[in-house]
Amino acid sequence: MIYEEPKFLPGGDRFIEMELGDELNFDLNFLVHSLSAKVREAEIPGLIELLPNMASIVLSYDPDGISFGDLKREILSHYHAMGSLEDIELLSPIYYIPVLYCDHVTRACWEDYCAKIGDKEYDPDLMVRLNDLDGYAQLARIHSGTEYWVSALGFYPGLASLIALDPRCRMTAPKYNPPRTWTPKGTIGYGGSVTCVYPANTPGGYQIIGHTPVPVCDIAQRLPAFKDDLALLRPGDRVRFLPVERAEYDYVESRVEEGNYVHNVARYAKFSIREYHHWLETLDMTERF
C-alpha cells in the first residue's frame, strides 16, 4: 500500500526514515526515486544525504542546519508538488550482463557450505522445486526472461537490488539459515523476490544460481565503465541477464582480466510508467516462459 501521507520517523539525532508505503510495488519505487531526484535538485540547506530504497528514503541531516520539523515540511511540500505517477518517464539505461547458470563457481561455494556449515539442498534444485519449474533450463529461461529494475543500492558497496519487471518471471526463494560466510564475487543470488549480483566476496544468504565474470563494482576503477563511478548500477537502471555457455563465459572473464572488457549498456530508452501499466495489462499471467 502507498500511504495516504508518508510517515517521518526519527532515526537518532540526525536521520529521518521517510516511509512512503509498505509493500514491494513498482509504483511505490518509482515514487521513491522520482521524489529523491526532486529533493536532490532542490538542494535543501541542512540536508546532507538521501538513501532511497524500496519503499522508503532515509534522510541524513545536520540538526544545526535544519530541524526535524522543518525538514519534514520541506520534503512534504516536494512530495505534494509531484504530478501524477502515470506521467513519470525516466531515462533508464539497460545493462546486458552475461551469466553462466548452474555453474561450477557457485557449485563449489555450495559444496563448501555443506562441508563446513551444514547440509543444504543444491540451490538450483531448491529454486526449481519451490517455483514449480521443469528444470535448470527453465530456471535460466525465467530468470533471464525479464528486464530487472534497480530498486535500490545498499548493504554493501555496489550491491543492487533487482526486481523483475515482468511479473511472470517473479520467483521466490528463502535465505540460507545460517547465512554463508562467503560468496564468490559475481554470483547471481535470489532471495525473497529480489535478485542481485554479488559485487565482491561477501557473506550472504541468497540462493545462488549462476555466475557472471562481469564486475558490477570496481573500487580501483580499472575498466572504462567505472571511469566516473565505482558502482555500475543506479536506482532506475535496468538489467537483463543473458545466458551464455562456458566458452563465452571464459572469454568474457579473460577480457575482464585483461582490462579491456566493454560493458554492454544502452542509454537511449525512457521508461514510461503509463506504458508499463498498459503493458502489464496485456500479459497473460497464466503463462510462463
Binding site: 520517523l9 526519527p10 532515526g11 537518532g12 539525532d13 540526525r14 536521520f15 529521518i16 526514515e17 516511509e19 509498505d22 509493500e23 514491494l24 546532507i48 544525504e49 538521501l50 538513501l51 532511497p52 530504497n53 524500496m54 519503499a55 522508503s56 528514503i57 532515509v58 541524513s60 540538526p63 544545526d64 526535524f68 535500490a152 543500492l153 545498499g154 548493504f155 554493501y156 558497496p157 555496489g158 550491491l159 537490488s161 528463502p174 525473497g192 523476490s193 529480489v194 559485487p199 565482491a200 561477501t202 563494482c217 573500487i219 563511478d229 565505482l230 558502482a231 536506482p235
Partner: protein
C-alpha cells in the same frame, strides 16, 4: 616538513580515520567510517594544532609501536594505553614534542577501548572518494584501504604544533573503568513494530556487549523482543520473521534487530538491509560505544530527538580551543 613514521608494530586494528568520515557515497553502499569516538579524536587534533577533521590514527584495544624519523608534535586522547615515548610514560590529553628517532609504544587499553593519535599536520594518505577514512571491508581509504601492517611506513604532513597544551578535565569524555554504561537512545524509526511491553522491556533490561563486536556492528545479548501485531500481519514481501521488513536504509546508530539479535550499526555497518530498527543510538552517545569493551553492560536511556541534538551540540562545542587549558 614531512614526518616519516615507521610502523614497527601495527597493534590490534589501527587505522587512519578522518572526521566526519566519508560522505556522498552512501547511496553506492559506502558507510561513513571515520573515528568511532569523535569527541576524543577531534580533541587530539585540536591539541596538536590541526583542524578537527584532519586524518589521525584510531587505535583499538592494543595500540601500535611507531618510530618517528622527524620532529613533530603528537597527542593521544581516549583510552589509556600506557603509552611510552622511548620507554618513558607520556600523558594523555596533552600535546608533546617527538624528536626524530623517538619510539612511541602503546600497550593494551586499560580504561576504555579506543585511543586516538593525532600528529601535527595530519596523516598524509591520498583521499579516496573524498575522505581519508578507512573502510576496510571494501579496501578503501586510509593506508591502502586497510588497517596498518607491521613494517609499513606512514607519513604525516608535519607542521607547527605546540607542545604542552592540555584538555581541561571537564571537557573530556569520562572514560571510567566500570563495566556498566548508560547509553542514550532515541525511539524509532521502527518502534511501532515492537509492542508496548517490548519497548518497556528493552529500556528496563541489561544488555551485554558480545565479544564478536566491532566497527561493523555491536551485537547485544539480552532478553527476547516482543513484537507488535504489525510485525506478523505484514505482507509476505517483507519476509517471514517478525523482525524482517522490506529493505530500507539504515540510519547510522540504528539498533538493528536481526531475528532476536540486536546489533548497533556503527561506523562501518551496512547501509541498508531487511531488518527493523526500533531504536537509534544518537551521535552524542557514540563515544560511549567506542570506549566499551566486550562483556560491558548497557542500559538504554530514552531521550527525545531534540535532547539528542542538544547533546551533540554540547559535545561539538567542547571540541574547540575553549577546552584547552
Amino acid at each position: 616538513m614531512t614526518v616519516a613514521i615507521a610502523v614497527e608494530k601495527a597493534g590490534l586494528e589501527t587505522s587512519v580515520q578522518d572526521f566526519p568520515g566519508r560522505y556522498g557515497f552512501w547511496e553506492q553502499g559506502f558507510p561513513p567510517s571515520g573515528p568511532f569516538d569523535m569527541w576524543s579524536f577531534r580533541l587530539a587534533n585540536i591539541l596538536v594544532g590541526n583542524e578537527p577533521a584532519a586524518a589521525g590514527l584510531e587505535c583499538q584495544f592494543m595500540g601500535p609501536t611507531l618510530v618517528f624519523s622527524d620532529d613533530c608534535v603528537i597527542a593521544l586522547c581516549g583510552a589509556a594505553m600506557n603509552a611510552t615515548l622511548d620507554g618513558a610514560a607520556i600523558p594523555m590529553w596533552e600535546s608533546l614534542t617527538v624528536t626524530a628517532g623517538q619510539k612511541l609504544a602503546c600497550g593494551f587499553a586499560t580504561k576504555g577501548a579506543r585511543a586516538y593519535l593525532a600528529i601535527s599536520g595530519g596523516i598524509d594518505v591520498p583521499p579516496v572518494l573524498g575522505a581519508r577514512a578507512t573502510f576496510h571491508m571494501a579496501g578503501v581509504g586510509g593506508a591502502d584501504g586497510h588497517a596498518l601492517k607491521d613494517g609499513q611506513t606512514l607519513h604525516a604532513i608535519g607542521g607547527e604544533g605546540v607542545p604542552g597544551r592540555r584538555v581541561k578535565e571537564a571537557c573530556r569524555p569520562t572514560i571510567a573503568n566500570g563495566k556498566e554504561w548508560q547509553i542514550e537512545v532515541v525511539q524509532g524509526p521502527n518502534d511501532d513494530w515492537i509492542s508496548a511491553e517490548g519497548i518497556e522491556r528493552f529500556l528496563a533490561s541489561e544488555w551485554k556487549l558480545q565479544a564478536r563486536s566491532n566497527r561493523t556492528g555491536y551485537r547485544l545479548e539480552g532478553p527476547d523482543w516482543l513484537f507488535a501485531e504489525k510485525a506478523s500481519t505484514k505482507g509476505p514481501e517483507h519476509g517471514e520473521h517478525p523482525s524482517n521488513i522490506l529493505d530500507h536504509g539504515y540510519p547510522v546508530g540504528s539498533i538493528n534487530l536481526c531475528g532476536q539479535t540486536p546489533i548497533i550499526l556503527v561506523n562501518d555497518a551496512p547501509s541498508a538491509g531487511g531488518f527493523i530498527n526500533p531504536f537509534t543510538v544518537p551521535s552524542a552517545a557514540f563515544w560511549k560505544l567506542a570506549q566499551s569493551k566486550p562483556n560491558d553492560i548497557y542500559r538504554f536511556h530514552r531521550i527525545s530527538v531534540e535532547e539528542a541534538q542538544e547533546m551533540r551540540r554540547a559535545i561539538d562545542k567542547l571540541c574547540s580551543e575553549k577546552s584547552i587549558a
